[in-house]
């Protein structure tokens, strides 16, 4: 027990010395706090919008004005108004949307990928051949186009966006885990474990998976951000979340009509844009930090 603790402490010490990792974690914690306390935050900083929020669906950005012209930031609407919607409300609740979307899509596509990839690598032969050709087919379709087409077919809405992203997002994980397992299976420590009489399934769990799963976890964390960007892209293009949904991409899509008059609508781009950039940055930095923590070869 004592040794585990000291190991953990060593890791933590190294982690805190890595400034970018700390920045990533701090950013992420900030986003988590914002997501958890979204109602309270909105009530404090934009009470007018909070009062008008739709009780049955808090994820709808409340209408605070009946003009289609953007209104600059004011005391009532700290981040301004676009399309009649309060941007502050959208950015804060959009954090929840981003977590929901990122975690669901990254998690589901990783699960499917691990499942397909490990079955492929474990059974080999024609099973492997079939699965990998399916992967090839899915990969040959451009991701954004495929996701757009699928959401168009399924209809607007965040859930449909998530389905589309999962359907076309699991392949890289499948390939990654398959390649890693194939490689790890040939490692001499696997043979050494066999030579010591270790059981087959324990070899997979104790020796192969620990050497293969971390890249997937890291990849998941890195892609968490990029899924959010893709979803925002879909929303911006008009095939994402419904209009009015508290989602960073949706706010951006309102600014589409004001692209030639950015001096009047800059706040509709800057605030959700900054949120998105920081969100992606946070996950990438955390992904990097995870790699440093998980990989003992990187500990010196």
């Amino acid at each position: 027990m004592a040794k585990r603790k000291s190991d953990f402490r060593k890791m933590m010490k190294k982690f805190w010395r890595n400034q970018t990792a700390v920045l990533g974690v701090v950013l992420l914690i900030m986003f988590v706090i914002i997501a958890i306390f979204a109602p309270q935050i909105v009530k404090t900083f934009s009470p007018k919008a909070a009062a008008r929020a739709y009780a049955e669906d808090p994820y709808q950005m409340p209408r605070v004005a009946w003009t289609s012209n953007p209104l600059p930031p004011s005391k009532d609407d700290p981040f301004g108004v676009i399309g009649g919607r309060d941007i502050f409300y959208g950015v804060i609740y959009g954090t929840r949307t981003a977590f929901k979307l990122g975690l669901t899509v990254a998690g589901l596509s990783a699960l499917i990928g691990i499942f397909v990839g490990s079955i492929s690598a474990y059974f080999g032969g024609w099973v492997d051949e079939i699965f990998m050709r399916i992967v090839d087919i899915f990969m040959s379709i451009p991701f954004l186009v495929a996701a757009m087409v699928l959401t168009t077919i399924l209809g607007k809405g965040l859930n449909n966006v998530m389905i589309a992203l999962v359907v076309f997002g699991w392949m890289t994980t499948a390939r990654l885990i398959r390649g890693n397992i194939l490689q790890a299976r040939e490692e001499q420590y696997v043979l050494a474990a066999k030579a010591l009489g270790q059981k087959d399934w324990l070899i997979i769990i104790k020796h192969i998976l620990p050497n293969t799963i971390f890249p997937v976890v890291i990849q998941m964390s890195m892609r968490m951000g990029s899924y959010v960007i893709t979803a925002a892209g879909l929303s911006f293009l008009g095939v994402g979340a419904e209009p009015g949904y508290a989602d960073w991409g949706t706010i951006l899509s309102y600014s589409r009509n004001w692209m030639t008059m950015l001096d009047k609508a800059w706040f509709a781009i800057v605030f959700p844009g900054v949120a998105m950039v920081l969100f992606v940055l946070a996950w990438n930095l955390v992904g990097d930090a995870l790699r440093d923590i998980f990989d003992p070869r990187m500990r010196s």
Binding site: K3, S6, D7, E187, Q188, Y189, L191, A192, A193, K194, A195, L196, G197, Q198, K199, K206, H207, P210, N211, P296, R297, R299
Partner: protein, 337 residues
């Protein structure tokens, strides 16, 4: 040598089914290992020496198959055992150490974890005891400060220390037979000597038999009591170590010995056996060494020489032993040795 051998390999054939055809990596190999002795298996890369040991431990990959022969360990036919019975034998009755201590240890676990894993697998002890046993084992293999080292990861150890850890791991369950597959090849010379010495000491203490697989006749001279010389999947000579060095009866053995650099000679160019190892998919007819042998005749190119016992405990497979003896005599006379 009336006692019963610990391991008896009779006419072992191991074939690999590749896309290009069947590779007869081991083709009728026989030898015995007695308790507590060291048997050396020597030969060039690809002659089937590692495959022989993997066959005995039944660790061949999907493409490999034991196509014939008998493997008796303690009188038990290994080929007839179930996978589960075989798994229980591995580590417990026979263990293996590998050439690359760098890759034979799992990078994500401490060496203590890995040794403990081996102990827990075969012995009925709790984790705390297993850990103590692991530390003891590390002390025995000469790792300084074992209490501290036990929690280090493989990458924190030097090559020699890693190989010591590997030895500790394979000996943790006190096997009767240890396969050492080129255990010193990846190490530098001073460390090589230390590791070999360590293995001899441990052998004295534990009384296990060692099968030392190497391409290095120097290692054989130091470690082995009896030697199997392999060429292209076959045993070409089989003798005790003194006889082998004093009185080689196969041109391949003689060639290997000549290729060792000697300190008392000032040669610019080392002797080497002309030609290359034959393609395992297409071995030459007759004696497999005929393409590289200075004594080869038409008979060697058509008929395969059997492994015959020339004198008790000394077997060789060559049609021209007489001519070889003559050649060795002339050559040694020329050296003034």
């Amino acid at each position: 040598m009336d006692k019963k051998p610990l391991l008896e390999v009779k006419g072992l054939k191991t074939y690999f089914h590749t896309d290009d055809g069947i590779v007869k990596a081991v083709d009728g190999v026989s030898f015995e290992v007695y308790s507590g002795e060291t048997l050396g298996i020597v030969g060039e890369s690809g002659c089937g020496k590692s495959v022989t040991s993997l066959s005995v431990m039944r660790l061949l990959d999907e493409k490999g198959e034991i196509a014939g022969g008998e493997i008796l360990f303690d009188g038990k036919d290994i080929r007839a055992l179930s996978d589960e019975e075989m798994r229980k034998m591995r580590g417990n009755d026979m263990a293996m150490i590998f050439q690359e201590p760098m890759t034979a240890l799992n990078p994500v676990y401490t060496i203590g974890d890995q040794i403990t894993e081996a102990i827990l697998l075969h012995q009925d002890v709790d984790k705390e005891t297993a850990r103590k046993m692991a530390i003891d084992m590390l002390r025995k293999v000469g790792i300084p400060e074992p209490e501290k080292r036990v929690d280090e990861y493989p990458h924190e150890l030097s090559g020699g220390m890693r190989q010591r850890a590997m030895i500790a791991m394979s000996l943790s369950c006190n096997p009767k037979l240890l396969f050492a597959d080129e255990p010193t090849t990846a190490l530098d010379v001073t460390i090589q000597a230390q590791i070999l010495e360590l293995m001899l000491e441990l052998q004295k203490e534990y009384g296990m038999a060692i099968v030392m697989i190497t391409h290095d006749l120097g290692v054989i001279a130091e470690m082995a009591e009896r030697v199997v010389v392999m060429y292209a999947g076959k045993v070409v000579e089989y003798a005790d170590v003194v006889t082998l060095f004093k009185d080689p009866k196969h041109p391949y053995t003689w060639g290997l010995m000549n290729a060792i650099p000697r300190l008392d000679e000032d040669k610019d160019v080392l002797y080497n056996i002309p030609g290359v190892v034959p393609d395992p998919l297409d071995f030459p007819k007759g004696c497999r060494f005929n393409t590289r042998c200075p004594l080869a005749t038409d008979k060697c190119r058509t008929e395969e020489p059997p492994l015959v016992e020339i004198e008790p405990g000394h077997k060789a497979a060559c049609w021209h032993i007489d001519r070889l003896v003559e050649m060795v005599k002339v050559s040694r006379a020329g050296e003034g040795a």
